[in-house]
Symmetry: C2
Subunit: 600 residues, 2 copies
């Protein structure tokens, strides 16, 4: 079978770079040890090998499709995977024991999800949505709501979804119109249209639990008037029977990629009999939803890293097997052609992919670890982890999706014309990946979030904490002569970053928020480059330590040497673009904040 | 109807930036005037509006497909378009009168092709291949060969193709195995397999003229032993009848994009009855083929620019019509949402697309004009034009295809989730575009050609000539206070470029061609940035001149202002990446020229 991820890398990230075993001292995770944890991850690989990866192409060729009568037809394997994954705790595994989970750290749970995402990103979508929905209900729902919905979702019988987007509002949630009218202090009658609802009413589940944003009649305008409701497709009556709840799937969207994943249009309350059950307090819906949204953003970033990883693995395998051409110094046409991995430009393309995919996955693991610390700790430790998580969330989402697309394009490129044909998976992965920069807030939205909110919260505390973390890695790298230079380089880049940020904050001080934010996406690009540089220095440092402290065999030595080499590659080929971004951001000329647009 | 290109831009490029009318003084083009020339371009728009653009989506949804019996089924409109285009001289229009053409400048002919490429890139492929094949026969074939094949191709009855690639050789043409055995000094018996043959035996033409590379028995190894043959599907007998020539279409390739364009696998001589007719001298085939190949490379570059242009136009239209959200300084949720074109990040995405697509198209027109000078002039003037064309060919091909993909990704991004759905054309254009970095030599191959061949030919003469051209534009820009700064910036970048080149040439002097060429693709990126910077300065300069010299109406004023604005944008947002490339290229650490690859 073709590789779609690298288990040795995953083990290195989990146990060396972001040591999951250091979490086992916390009560929440004290039931685990490293061996167990790794066995759980390996079980995910087995499931993905047998049940997910073999269906990657089939699901692309037979897209999920609306049946014209209120449901979306999906590949039969999807129902099977949801059931198998549920049985093996890949929906509810990270939940607490009391909610039916295995209390797994997100690191372990999401290492499994990474394998699924790399094997078949369409099917993992269904699982991830259910996990997030159940978490949200657990966090903010009533005990009755939890008891009614969460077990069914974790058992894979009911599918959870996020119902946010409306046709007229798109990314602008403050403009949503779906309404909720209270009835007898008991429930609300919900009415409205939601689009782009992933995992919406399809064949693979018996019921759907739509976590729906709507406005209670008379609510304030804007985001302050949004409430969160549980709106099932079939509502459970007190006697346990299920009654159709007037949530109609009115159509679907056909897409250029991720075709196995149903994307639906839902119509709530066409017959005025759609009941929604308020979660938590009125008008707090967006705040609640952001718990799920933040998790989803990290998950999208990790998924982008995973899909790009699958493309990289396919590309690498091809380059090791395909003979073609000769290196420039070899002029004799009678010499046997070389394997293409010996061409310098092919090595450049492979190393670029390796730098992007492994760097992104490492950052996703950093986020998963912070999530675990938020769950397991209290007080300052928890607050620190939360702030770090908040600032890293838009970065991992954006770097992995934007650079992941570039990485998958290079995977196609290494295969030449074959890469463009449906005979190889790289073109599908390139198509699948493109959605990642749009899901859960586009790159533009993430960038506004980073610069406009995360960088400034608590007087810049999140950013300070992040820079402290990076400095710690730099300080540790100083002990190795050959890593020291890279630490110095990264430190210089951080100074550039801070200079640029101060420059931009100047616009805010001049009360010009529009200008402050107008190049937020370029600022994001810079932040991504730095944070991934940090991850690479961290990986190289750990590899260096292990090369010296243990006595690894040749294969493991090569693995560690590859980490140091790829770090050097990243610093040589990628990091210099920070200065280009800085140059743009320091340029005071305003070219994109225009009122007068007739020239377009 | 949706816009897919901008006729005002095309007119500006043709008559102002790269004045086609200055060609009319040469005998070859003396029959034309500007008004006629523009009418011809406008007729292409009419044809594309009526017969090409309306079928863009249909051809994506019903791909060209092998029938299992030796032919590829294509959309019925393809045959019709080939016939209509032939009638209106869009296959042979640039040929001399004596060969049945209209002796149009490439600039005018390819302005028409640009419109077709933007409207429906699959169908334009068939036309372009026929044009190139007939040109090649005209240049190097015997009078009999010309008389037999060229008129049929220009009449759209026979389809020309390029049959180069073989399964085992890919980009490495020195390894092709197709053989040709001479028979009675009359013809050759051809035997071999060719893959990725675009426009190969499909339903849209009655016969096929495959320009085929093969080795005559006993030929030297490598590229020096390759000859060029005309191999028709049906060979014309002296009495005018057509006899099946044992060229069998053995299958096709299904692709992620450009699905309307048949990509075939041809098998020559399965029954030992495939006759090939030698073109020109034996063993000179690759040299001849490069005439067609160079034309095809410029055409692929122009096609990439055109497809990205169509995506930009769709994106622009959406951004002008879609209301969503509010600018950061507007906090009142009761205010009507703004059109998204008012968001700074959307403006950034539109301007990036505008800079890439218009810049690339301008460079393609620069190349078309040089082609015309090669055709129309003699002596030094011709030699200069040819050298400039040679150095610009890999650059236009690569910049337009690589950056065009990035541009189309931004087109998707501006549409948000809608951009990923098949309801909008941007996702198709993104998929179609990906082939352009692979066609006719991948980006890696183009980069080796630029640095390894074009930069060094005649002691660097081609590059010197190019830099003189750029300097002329810089000097002219000095007369305008507000353009002067940009000229200075570009000049500084050229100095950086030269410094980097000297550094790289040092490896060559140290007899290390592998290291010299190992970062050729990064060098290409730098060259592309500079050359497009030059095109933008040229456009801005012309716009400035016209703003001052004529008295344009508001619309035209806006158009010219847009050129200056986009130049400024390009210089602020894109050009700084030159320094990043330079930084990488000046870094002496060798990270991609490795023999020891176990770490992958």
């Amino acid at each position: 079978m073709a590789n779609y991820t690298n288990m040795e890398l995953l083990r290195f990230l989990l146990f060396e770079v972001h040591p999951v075993q250091s979490l086992f001292k916390y009560e929440r995770y004290s039931h685990l040890d490293a061996e167990q944890a790794w066995m759980i991850v390996e079980s995910a690989k087995l499931l993905a090998d047998q049940e997910m990866f073999p269906y990657l192409k089939e699901m692309d060729e037979s897209p999920a499709q609306y049946d014209g009568k209120g449901a979306v037809l999906t590949h039969p394997q999807i129902k099977r995977i949801i059931q198998l994954a549920a049985e093996q705790s890949w929906i509810g595994g990270a939940a607490k024991f009391e909610h039916g989970g295995m209390q797994l750290p997100e690191m372990i749970f999401n290492a499994g999800q990474h394998i699924f995402q790399a094997a078949n990103n369409s099917v993992q979508g269904y699982l991830g949505l259910s996990t997030g929905s159940a978490d949200l209900i657990t966090s903010f729902g009533s005990p009755e709501q939890i008891a009614t919905y969460v077990p069914k979702i974790y058992q894979g019988e009911w599918q959870g979804t996020m119902a946010l987007t409306e046709p007229q509002a798109g990314s602008s949630l403050s403009d949503i119109l779906t309404s909720a009218k209270p009835v007898n202090n008991d429930y609300y009658l919900v009415k409205g249209q939601k689009i782009f609802i992933s995992g919406g009413q399809h064949e693979g589940a018996d019921n759907f639990v739509h976590l729906t944003l709507a406005r209670i009649e008379g609510a304030p305008a804007g985001v302050k008037g949004i409430s969160l409701f549980i709106v099932p497709k079939f509502r459970p009556e007190p006697d346990g029977t299920l009654v159709y709840n007037d949530v109609y799937c009115a159509g679907d969207f056909q897409k250029m990629g991720q075709k196995g994943y149903a994307t639906t249009h839902l119509s709530f309350g066409d017959n005025d009999d759609c009941r929604g059950y308020l979660v938590g307090e009125p008008h707090q819906g967006l705040k609640y939803m952001f718990q799920m949204m933040n998790g989803a953003r990290i998950s999208v970033g990790q998924c982008a890293a995973s899909v790009a990883m699958a493309a990289y693995q396919a590309s690498l395998q091809y380059c090791k097997e395909r003979p073609q051409g000769r290196v420039p110094s070899e002029k004799d046409p009678l010499k046997t052609p070389t394997l293409i991995i010996h061409h310098a430009d092919v090595q450049r393309m492979l190393l670029t992919q390796k730098a992007i995919t492994e760097g992104s996955l490492s950052l996703a693991m950093e986020c998963n670890r912070l999530y675990d610390l938020v769950h397991a700790t209290q007080g300052d430790e928890k607050a620190t982890a939360l702030l770090l998580l908040e600032i890293l969330t838009p970065i991992v989402k954006t770097y992995a999706s934007e650079q992941g697309s570039r990485s998958a394009a290079l995977a196609i490129q290494t295969l030449g014309g074959y890469g463009f044909t449906t005979d190889f998976p790289v073109q599908q992965l390139y198509r699948d990946l493109k959605i990642m920069s749009l899901y859960e807030g586009t790159t533009g939205i993430q960038s506004l979030d980073l610069l406009g909110r995360k960088v400034t919260i608590q007087n810049g505390k999140a950013l300070s904490l992040l820079l402290i973390q990076i400095q710690e890695t730099i300080t540790l790298s100083n002990q190795y002569e050959d890593l020291k230079l890279y630490g110095i380089k990264l430190n210089k880049d951080i100074q550039t970053f801070e200079k640029v940020l101060n420059h931009l904050l100047g616009y805010l001080q001049k009360s010009d928020p529009d200008r402050f934010l107008s190049d937020a996406t370029v600022f994001m690009e810079m932040a991504g480059l730095i944070v991934i540089g940090w991850q690479w220095l961290k990986m190289a440092l750990k590899a260096k330590e292990l090369l010296q402290s243990v006595n690894p065999n040749k294969m493991t030595q090569d693995f560690y040497a590859g980490k140091i080499h790829t770090m050097e590659f990243y610093f040589k080929y990628e990091l210099p673009h920070i200065d280009a971004c800085a140059n743009t951001l320091m340029n005071e000329k305003t070219l994109t904040n225009l009122k007068e647009l007739d020239f377009f």
